[in-house]
């Protein structure tokens, strides 16, 4: 971990011990998050992107989940994997906050919005109830809720989907965290509202000086919002680098295939590349490289040995046996 890192994850493994077998949801993930950066963690279902975020928050239900190995170093706080639950309670919200995908599930339907935000403030500060409530209204203004004094008295069902997402972000940033983890912040939203939430995330980051980690499956969101990107597949990091480098010159067959297979609104009817096959089951992942059954460059080595992640170009890492040959 170097000096400018806020968060450094090393060889993290989070497994779930279920009756059908061990789900290796996160299986040897390492990456650094620099202070002031926006990092995108992108992947499909089963890639382990959300479990990585939940592990950082130490919100993995146990049992069946367990951090099998690895370290999560957070600047000034040490290794998060060694913290007790009561220590984590002091860290969550204040140092690291997370907003979730589905606002209706995470907001309490029988509490007024203002009170729900104030609750988070009360938990961490020495604020009185009155001060906490005022802070809640101010935070609502910050996230762009019109006439926040009035809306603070609303219940969640009285708000639109976009407004609810804003409230979740308000709760997350109400105690000025250093790191905001936004899990699929735009997924359930219509495009116009989605664009407004992206704008809000950029705005909040600037105003509050936060570091942001966005978990998403949407490459458009990654391209718009992030400086750095981690591409995950079946519990592993496949590629990591500056967003511009990864999108312009991907050095992993999975990323390359993905970028060529998504329809683009600025492309028209250009023929789409297809990644054949199905997403692997993480209970019984393919041996060797986990992408090998779907990889167009597959060779015998790929079926036998798992590729290590290596820095092929400055600041640009990939886990592929033949990356140097294909992309070098």
């Amino acid at each position: 971990m170097n000096n400018s890192s806020l968060l450094s994850i090393q060889d993290l493994r989070t497994h779930f011990f279920t009756s059908t077998g061990v789900v290796k949801a996160v299986d040897g993930v390492s990456f650094d998050l620099q202070r002031g950066q926006t990092l995108g963690v992108v992947g499909e279902s089963g890639s382990g992107k959300s479990v990585t975020a939940l592990t950082v928050m130490r919100l993995i239900p146990s049992p069946p989940g367990r951090i099998v190995s690895g370290q999560i170093e957070f600047a000034g706080l040490g290794n998060l994997t060694e913290k007790t639950e009561s220590e984590m309670r002091q860290i969550r919200g204040k140092h690291i906050s997370m907003s979730f995908q589905d606002p209706m599930t995470y907001l309490n339907p029988v509490l007024r919005i203002g009170d729900q935000i104030a609750e988070a403030v009360l938990l961490h500060g020495q604020a009185t109830k009155r001060e906490a409530y005022d802070r809640a209204v101010e935070t609502m203004r910050l996230v762009g809720i019109p006439s926040p004094e009035v809306r603070a008295k609303d219940y969640p069902h009285q708000l639109s989907g976009g407004m609810r997402q804003r409230i979740l972000l308000a709760i997350a940033v109400s105690c000025n965290p250093q790191l905001l983890i936004a899990d699929e912040p735009t997924t359930a939203l219509d495009v116009i509202v989605q664009d407004e939430i992206l704008e809000l995330l950029r705005d909040l980051k600037k105003k509050l000086g936060m570091t942001v980690m966005v978990i998403t499956h949407d490459l458009g969101v990654v391209a718009e919002l992030t400086d750095q990107v981690v591409v995950m597949y079946a519990g592993k990091v496949m590629e990591e680098g500056k967003t511009l480098d990864v999108f312009k010159n991907p050095i992993n067959p999975y990323t390359e295939g993905l970028l060529r297979s998504i329809p683009r609104v600025d492309w028209g009817k250009k023929q789409l590349n297809v990644i054949e096959g199905i997403i692997p089951d993480v209970v019984d992942p393919p041996p060797g490289c986990r992408f090998h059954p779907r990889c167009p460059y597959v060779a015998r080595l790929c079926q036998e040995a798992e590729p290590a992640i290596v820095e092929l170009k400055p600041g640009h890492r990939t886990a592929c046996h033949f990356a140097a040959k294909i992309y070098g």
Binding site: E44, S45, S160, G161, G162, M163, D190, V191, I192, V193, Q194, D195, L198, H217, D218, L219, G220, V221, V222, A223, E224, T243, L244, F247, K248, G257, L258, L259, S261, I262, P263, R264, V265, D266, W267, G268, K269, L272, N273, V274, I275, E276, I278, I279, R294
Partner: protein
């Protein structure tokens, strides 16, 4: 709310606008939540009964014909649903799911049902089909289930297929597989598609004609390429400008709309879009614009055509 009239694939909306879906083409309806796109498609399929209005298919009014006639007409029009988990019966095998429409519509009998079902599975890329026949839906991934849903829709040999968000619940590396499959089937079988989607990149990839819906009305209707290259209605412009493009070097031009979509129960006066429009005029709150020809697009907007 709308009428369908005339030739086999010809639609007439309530405010006096007609459009046709040409044979072997894809017509898309796009819009946000609450725009009415899914309701419109389901009403055409007679899965929802309208309060008023007519739907014609091959000159026959779907709401006047008998249940028997409707059943035989259903062969011609099939639907593929959004959620491949909810739309397949978990207690039936694939042979039963795909075989049922074959039996119902008299396309196959007895031992020929399994044979036909296997052929349909191969047509959607599940090869060899016979290997999949005795499995249950839970044994398949999301993409494979959507293929089964497509095979079931293809079974009665339809001419029109309604695709209701066919890829939106699939993972991104699977979407292109299904999109290419749908495009291939259309060419191979001469199908006509009515596509319902909120993802405009999918719409652009598949369609020839696009109708943009806002609060139950079509606000712009045009040839796909022209609509994406040169949108005319302010709502279409805002919609297109808000799509994140997976390319960090592309900078989008921002179009900001005011407020949120109003409730369809309490519609604004005049043009339904006027409270959010970036350039409203006095007339917009007073009278509802008709669809008129602007630059080859049908546009429901009071503004003068400008470049």
């Amino acid at each position: 709310m709308f009428k369908r009239r005339g030739g086999p694939l010809f639609v007439r909306a309530v405010d006096g606008v007609s459009f046709g879906i040409n044979k072997n083409e894809t017509m898309s309806l796009v819009g946000e939540t609450g725009s009415g796109k899914t309701t419109l498609a389901r009403t055409i399929m007679r899965l929802i009964e309208p309060t008023s209005g007519k739907v014609f298919f091959e000159g026959r009014d779907l709401f006047r014909i008998s249940a028997d006639e409707m059943r035989s007409l259903r062969q011609e029009m099939q639907i593929v649903f959004q959620d491949p988990f909810a739309s397949l019966n978990p207690r039936k095998t694939v042979a039963e799911i795909v075989g049922r429409p074959l039996i119902l519509h008299g396309k196959a009998k007895g031992s020929a049902v399994r044979q036909s079902a296997a052929e349909l599975l191969e047509m959607v890329g599940l090869t060899p089909g016979s290997r999949f026949l005795d499995r249950y839906p839970h044994e398949f991934s999301g993409g494979q289930r959507q293929r089964i849903g497509i095979a079931r829709a293809l079974a009665p040999k339809p001419r029109l297929m309604v695709l209701d968000e066919p890829v939106s619940s699939l993972d991104i590396s699977i979407r292109s597989q299904i999109l290419n499959l749908l495009q291939g089937l259309k060419n191979q079988l001469g199908l006509t598609y009515l596509l319902i989607a909120h993802d405009l990149s999918v719409v652009r990839y598949l369609s020839e004609t696009v109708g943009v819906m806002y609060l139950g009305k079509i606000v712009e209707l045009a040839q796909s390429e022209s609509l994406f290259e040169n949108p005319q209605h302010p709502y279409t412009k805002a919609l297109l400008a808000s799509i994140p493009i997976p390319d960090p070097t592309v900078k989008r031009e921002k179009v900001r709309l005011q407020g949120e979509m109003p409730s369809p129960i309490n519609l604004p006066s005049g043009c339904r879009f006027h409270p959010r429009c970036p350039c409203p005029k006095k007339i917009c709150s007073e009278s509802e614009p008709e669809l008129t020809d602007i630059e080859g697009h049908l546009v429901a907007c009071h503004r003068e055509p400008v470049d």
